[in-house]
Amino acid sequence: MSTQTIVQNKSISIKKRNTNSKKGKIIFRGLFLPIAIILLWQILGSAGILPAQLFSSPLLILTSFLELVQSGELGAHLQISLTRALLGFSLGGFFGLLIGIIVGMNKKSEQYLNPTIQMLRTIPLLVITPLFIMWFGFGELSKVLLIALGTFFPLYLQTFLGIRNVDQKLYDVAQILEYNRLEKVTKLMIPAALPNILLGIRLGLSAAWMCLVVAELLGADQGVGFMIQDARSFMQTDIVFVGIIIFALAGKISDSIVRFLENRLLKWQDSFKA
């Protein structure tokens, strides 16, 4: 009897240790490839096998990143880019939400607006960019408007979808409780459509970053995109890499913020959590 218990205890503690080391193993497996690539990249670069002009070594990228930060150049470019992104995102997001709600709530406005919006949505934004530059010049306006346009469609689409998914049964309740028009929007439609709206915000954010890059690559004298473009013409590959990493980080951080919002605002949802 007692030996059995000891054996059982032993197996339990072994199991525990196993799960702990398993976690470490999983993290290690995830990091293995990036680290290996960076190491290989550094070794090949140092050995002179990789052409230094096209593939700046990781060490060089890091040093030029630190230099750019210290000189304040990166900060200035980043600030301009973030301002553009934020302005464009707010503008497009606001109208996407607003028109999504209106079209979602009102059949007539759907019939008037939706076909046109759906048609415009299919036009690739890259095609519109030259037109925007011709209309609004190389200044801030064309960039902000391009970003706004990119943000508008996903937010419009998801808001519209979310409102159309509102349960008719809950709408009946709101009617019986005499919710007025505004209350129906703010206390029924928006909360019920919130999962879709947040998804729209996430998609809108990634569209905003993409449009920002496009706008800044095509014509700008400031911003991270310009920094990349400028570095390219001088074959400063290390700075190009820094710019790319900055965009990757910005995208990841903004996505994490929305995820955090989702977790807080949608805690009422009874969905499967693996």
Partner: protein, 256 residues
Amino acid sequence: MMVATLQINKVSKTFNNESEKVHVLDNINLSVQQDEFLSVIGPSGCGKSTLLKLIAGLDLNYEGNIVLGTKEVIGPSKDRGFIFQEHRLFPWLTVEKNIAGNLSLKDPDTRKRVDNLITLVNLKGFEKAYPRQLSGGMSQRVAIARALLRNPEVLLLDEPFGALDAFTRSHLQEALLEIWKKNQTTMVLVTHDIDEAIFLSSRVVVMDSKPGRIKANVVIDLPYPRRRTSKSFQEFRTAILNHLDHKVEDVEDWSI
């Protein structure tokens, strides 16, 4: 003395099903007194739930008219509270906010009345719970509290306990009777449960299907609280079953 609160005058309703017309309700005339607990019973498809929807004002596409007090029904209103078969709570709101709905809990009067109702429906301690954390019976009690907060003149109940287990159901039935006596709210209950109808109601309306018509009016003049096993209860049961076209022999415990 008797005040007719709810008047249903010559109400007919047809659904257009592709080619054929279905008469769901055919010339329904019914008046409900202020102090009544009325049950509407009938086979499925007799239009009893449709009738409730018309009284609620959720569907205005019918012939005839419905009058509450002196006002004709032209749309949904807080005067006519509605308890659906499902609880229909807003999943993103806590229990207390669901009850309050579009009223602010910051208002001390609302706060107090919501708290009182939470006590009344026995949900103390669950004020901050979300609907997904509640059982079916608890959710339905929240829905009842939500309707009662609006002080409705009539409470319309559409098979409210149909989806609940027997124990919860009988508990809620007793709670409903208490509310009826206390608040003097006129009750109109649609059900397919004969025992439930007799246990609760002062009058039972039996409906026929296709087309939906009123077949019989049975006044249940038994004193409350009623015992389901009593002989007089069984007699009413038989009477209603007879109206529903059941054979008397079907009732096993019918004996003298």
